[in-house]
Symmetry: C3
Amino acid sequence: MLRPIKNNFKGKDVVSLDQFDSQSIIRLYKETASIKKMFEKGRFKNRPYKILDGRIAGLMFYEPSTRTFSSNSAAFKRLGGQTVEHQNPLVTSSAVKGETMEDTTMMMEQYCDILVIRHPVKGTLAKVAQVASIPVINAGDGIGEHPTQALLDMFTIYEKFGKLTGLKGLMAGDMLNGRTVHSLIRGLSIFPGNTVYLLSPKSLRLSRDEFKLYSQMGVKLVEINSLKQIPVDCHFWYWTRVQKERFSDKKVYEKLKLSFILTKKLVSEKAGKKTLLMHPLPRVGEIEIAVDGDPRAVYLTTEAKNGMYVRMALFKLILR
Amino acid sequence: MLRPIKNNFKGKDVVSLDQFDSQSIIRLYKETASIKKMFEKGRFKNRPYKILDGRIAGLMFYEPSTRTFSSNSAAFKRLGGQTVEHQNPLVTSSAVKGETMEDTTMMMEQYCDILVIRHPVKGTLAKVAQVASIPVINAGDGIGEHPTQALLDMFTIYEKFGKLTGLKGLMAGDMLNGRTVHSLIRGLSIFPGNTVYLLSPKSLRLSRDEFKLYSQMGVKLVEINSLKQIPVDCHFWYWTRVQKERFSDKKVYEKLKLSFILTKKLVSEKAGKKTLLMHPLPRVGEIEIAVDGDPRAVYLTTEAKNGMYVRMALFKLILR
Amino acid sequence: MLRPIKNNFKGKDVVSLDQFDSQSIIRLYKETASIKKMFEKGRFKNRPYKILDGRIAGLMFYEPSTRTFSSNSAAFKRLGGQTVEHQNPLVTSSAVKGETMEDTTMMMEQYCDILVIRHPVKGTLAKVAQVASIPVINAGDGIGEHPTQALLDMFTIYEKFGKLTGLKGLMAGDMLNGRTVHSLIRGLSIFPGNTVYLLSPKSLRLSRDEFKLYSQMGVKLVEINSLKQIPVDCHFWYWTRVQKERFSDKKVYEKLKLSFILTKKLVSEKAGKKTLLMHPLPRVGEIEIAVDGDPRAVYLTTEAKNGMYVRMALFKLILR
C-alpha cells in the first residue's frame, strides 16, 4: 500500500497521484512558488542555495527521457545536491546481466538518499517502493502514471488562475496510452468542480475501466471526437503526442498520429483570452510552430520551467 | 611493475590485490571504519564532508555496471568531489573512432585527478597504469581482477569477526571466470591461516595455473563439487553468479548457471550462527529470495554499503 | 545572424570562429593563461575555485566524444558548477521520439545556464543559437566547425610563441572533412601574416569553395601533396585523422586513411627546434608512437590540457 502524503512529505514515496489530497498539493505549490520566486529574483546568483549539499539522488532511467531526466537532475543540483545517473540502463547496467528491479533498488539505496526511476512496465514503481527504505519517485512507469508531470501541469494552472477548482479543461491526443493524461485527470479529481473534455480518435479513448474509475473519483469527463465540439473559454488545453512507442503496429500509429492538430486558426476560433496552451512534450507535429509565439502558449517555457521548480520543492519537502 | 602500497596510499594505483600487504589492508580498514562511523552517526548531515571539494574523478566504464559504477560515483561525491563519467564508452566515446586505451588515458589525466576504469580485456589496467601519471583504479578488467570488490568483501568479514586470519570460508559458483573470486582469494592469501572451500561444477573450476599460483601464496584451497561437502561453521559463504558474458556457447551457460543454489534449507543445514552470507551481485537465481531476510544475509545491505565506504577510504588515502 | 564577440563575451554564443576578432581572442587567452597559472601552481588545492557554484551547464552530445565532452565537463566542474549530461542522446533522449533540436534546446534552457552541443549535421548550432535565450557553445557540428578546438589549438601556439601573427604552419590529413582544420584556418585568418601549408591526398583537399573563401579571409594557403614539399622550420605541424565517419564507402576510407604518417624520421628531417607537433586527437595510426616522447609533441599533454583551460576561461567570461 502506498502511503498517503497527508501534508507531510518527509521520507515519503511519490508513486501515484492517489497519494495526494488537496491540502498536500497546495502545500507543495506554496513551496514551489516560494522557491521559484527566490530563483527568478536572482537571490541565489552569488550565494547558491545549498540545502541538499552532500546529498545524492540516484536517477535510474530505463526508458529514453530528455525532459524528466534533465529537470530532475537540474532540480537536485540547484539545491546543492549531486546525482548518480543511469540513462537507458537496460543497456549499460547490471540489468543486462538479468538483475531484478527489486535487487537493483535495494543496492542503489545503499549509496543514495532518494531514487528517481523511470521504467517501461506499469506497476514497477509500486513494487519498488515496497522494498525501498529510502524515498522513491515515479518518473513514469510505462502506460501507468507520471505523477510529477501532473503536479507540474497543475502547478502551471494554479499559478495562472489561483485555484484548482471549478476548472474547465480540454485534453487532446492519446488518452489511451498517455500516462501524463492519466495522472493529470487523477490530480484534477482531487479538487471539486472540475470538468475535462477528452478529444481523441475512438481507438485512443480512455479504456472503459479507466473512464469509469476516474468518473467516480469526482472529475466530470466528457468525451468528444471532433475539433468542432471543443467548448469555448477553457481554462487550459492540454495537447499530447500519440505514443508511438506503445504501438506494435506502426501503420496504425501513422494513421492516427496527427488526428488532431493544434493550429493558430483553432486557437483564434476556440481559445479564450486566458486559455493556457499546454503540452507535456515532446511534440511531433501535433502543434503548429506558429502557435509557439502566442503568449498563451506555455509548453516550451513556463510549463517546462515549472517542471524544475516543482521537483525542487518535492525534493526539499521529502528530504528536509 | 605495479608499485606496492606498503602502508602509503598517496598517489598509488590500485590494479591488483598483489600490491597490498597485511599492514596496508588494515590501514585501509581503519580509515573505512572511521568514515563509516561518522556517516552512519549522521555527523555530515548538516555540514557535508568536503575533503575532495574541487577534485575530479574520471569514471571510464567499458562494460556494463550498476554497482561498481554507482558506488564509485557516490563515494567520490560523498567526499565533496565531482566526476566525469563515461558509461559503455565503446559506444559513446572516441573508442568507436579507434583510439587506444593508452591514448584515452593520457588524455583523460589532463582533466582529472584520478581514474576509475572497467575494461573487458584482462591486463588492460596494468598497461594503463604504466602510462598514467595520475592514480588509476581497476574497477574490473575482464576475467582478470576486481580488487576493490575483494577489498570491500574482506572489510565486511573483518568488520564482523575483527580479524582476517584463521578464517574458514566457502566460495561457490563460477571459479573460472569470476574475477571477484580471484581477487578475494588473493586478498585472503595475504593473511595467514585461511582456508577456502571452492564449490563449482568441474568445468567452472579455477584454471589449474591459478589453483597452483594461489595455493603457493599461502591460502589453503580445497575444491569440492557437491553441497554435501560444505563444511559446517564457515565464517563466510561467498556465492557468485555464473558469468554469462564470458561464455561463447550460451547452451553451456544455460546448463551450468544454476548448478548450486543457496536456499533457506541449505542455510539451516550448513551455516553457522555467525556465517556471513555474501554475494558480489548481481544474482540471477542462484540465491533464493527467501534467504534475503536472514540476518546473516549481507549481500543486499552491509556488503553493498561497505562498497561505498571502502572506496571513500581509498579515494581519501590516495588523494590526500 | 551570429553576434560578434567584440571583446565582450557576456551572454554570447560561440558557434563559429567568424564571431571573433583578434582583440577578443587575445582577451580570452589572457584569461586562460591566468586561470592556468593559478591551477598549475596549486592555488585551488585546498580552497577550490567556485565562481560558477550553483550554475548548471547542459552538455548535449549527439555524436560520440571523449575529449570534448570530458574537457567541457571537467572545465565547468573545476569552476564549481555542475552539469546535466546527455551522451549519444539520439538513443537515450526524446530525440528518439522525434523531437526537433529547436524544441529540445528551448526546453533545456529552462533548466540550465548554458548549453554545449555537438551534433552530426552542419549548421545545426547556428539554428539552435537563433532560438536559444541562453548562451550556446558549438562542440562540433558535423563537417561544419569546432570553434573551441581551434581556440585551444591557437592558445597552444600563442603560449609557445607569444604571438598569432607571421606564423608558418602545416596541416596534414583530411582537409575536406576535418572540422577542426576548418575552424583553425578561420582562426588564423583573423591575424595578419599567417601562411598554412595543406598536405592531403587530392580527394581530401579542401572543397574549392572553402579554399576560395578562406584565402579571401587573409590567411595564405598553399596546397601540397607530398611529404617532401613540407617546408622547414614551421611554427607548428597540425596532423589530423582521416574522418572515417564521414565516408559512405569504407574501402575509400581504408585506402586513404594512412596516406601521410608523422614519423620520428620525418620530424628529424623537417621539423624545427621549436616546431609544435599537434593533433586534435583521437589518432588512429597517423602518428607513430615513437614521436610521443619528443618534447615538441604536445598532442597528448599540453594541447589536451589547454582544452580544459580555454573552456574554463570561456565559461567564466560568458557567465560572469
